[in-house]
Amino acid sequence: MKVINVLSGKGGTGKTMVSSSLLWTMSRKKRVVGIDCDVDAANLGMVLGVKITRRKEIETSEKAFLIEEKCTGCFKCVDVCNFSAIEKGDKKPVFNRFLCEGCGSCELVCPENAIEIKTVKNAWITEGASRYGFPVVSGQLKMGESGSGKIVTEVGRTGERVAKENKSEIMIIDSAAGISCPVIASVRNTDYVIAVSEPTPSGFNDLKRAIKLVEFFKIPCGLIINKFDINKELTRKIENFAKEKGLSVLGRIPYHKDFVDAAVNLKPVVVYKKKYREIFENIAEKIYSWFE
């Protein structure tokens, strides 16, 4: 199986649009599986009309809990916490669960053994079939919970199992925006990265940062320029940058209201309007030829 990762750096450049359309396109010739690693805000399943058949609550994060009756209020824990997650209360420390990393420093320093580190259920992983038949795995972080990087790893593992069960030939991962922990976790162990960019100063800037990350992991990478016609000069600059970096431009996608309408109707754009199929068929062919 080959693993393709769709990322962008900047949010809203069209990762989910690309992932869903490419999944649909590739599914006509190959066995595919879709993975939504945007655990902060998972949208891929919505576009693909996934009927969830399995839902699992998982624990990948740990947090510190105070055992009130043992605490004497020495506040040693407050000083030792490097994440500003413990504040001095009236008599006892107050733990901020959103900032706690579960590192255990407070537990180690507490002379009364009044702090314990416990795992918390912080995310859902769902499995199901899309309305087009192929399986989709998604992860969704519970509100305000941390540890998105670790959940991505967990989503990936579920994805691998589902891929094996379905004898998938291609896995497409829809990454989160940005370049921090969740993205790093999903970029690891992939065979090919598709970077989706748009010709705006910030789109270009974020693309450069995302490409640095890909270079760091030495993964082959191709580029899709979305809304290429809103600023042709910047599109040219992005293409020059691609040439410099030795990235191939897999495709250019125009800006059109069809894309918004497709999203509102919760359909991949290639299903919503047939005229976009050719663009994605070409992209798919270019990726297959890389794998050969």
């Binding site: 949010g11 941390s146 921090s180 705006t200």
Partner: protein
Amino acid sequence: MRIAVTGGKGGTGKSIVSTALAFELSKKQKTLLMDLDVECPNDHLILSIKREKVKDIFQKIPKFDFSKCVKCGTCSKVCKENAIVFIEGQYPRFIPEQCTGCNACCIACPTKAISQTEKKIGEIYYGKGYGMDLVSGEMVIGYEEAGPVVNAVKEYVKKTEKGYKHIIIDTSAGTHCGVISALMGCELALCVTEPTPFGKHDLELILDLLNVLGIPAKIIINRSDIGDKKLIGTISKKYKTEIIGEIPYKKSILDAYSKGVPVKEKEIENILRVLK
């Protein structure tokens, strides 16, 4: 007033709204724009403001004094990030990229062979333009946690923030640690969304989060004329959160954005009027 501009979903126009708001506010009162989308800060690009680096951001990491080390392996055992490798009979090996600076190894070491030192995790930039001050944080590529970088920028601003009448904070997408850190301490959060099912889905997530954090929220619909506004209307009702502005899709906004100048549209002025 300290106002966060957030929204859950990426690409809904957080940065456009933040910069436009800061631009309008700075006409009359001293305004600071904080770009806390530290993974990919862009506000300086949208405003074509030249930034200068004013500070490096460091995180604590352990420093080993092997002359005191007895090769017991305790540091490796307590480290939850697998940042310390221990091979029987050898001194521990430290992997700085993996370390989150929790200090557990330092506390646990029975012979006090570990002290604290620092590694660079980001940079703080400062710039001026259109009458406003801009501070942005930028995370070192390959570093994984946005939260500490955000906190460091907030800490940096603390000394001077009293001098500003308004502080606008541009957060990154999502609801992860970097967003939570940016939101904390804000008096109001403006949630920029788009009238699509995704915009709606992610808006709910951020409103849930703001609710738990106890920060009042208002909704702004961007590209309000393409898509289905009813989607956002139902969320507004469900969460009893007011929609204070609608920004239509306009070529003039896209042009300003792609050229790197602030968006000046009457819709932004309208939002300010409601806020007042």
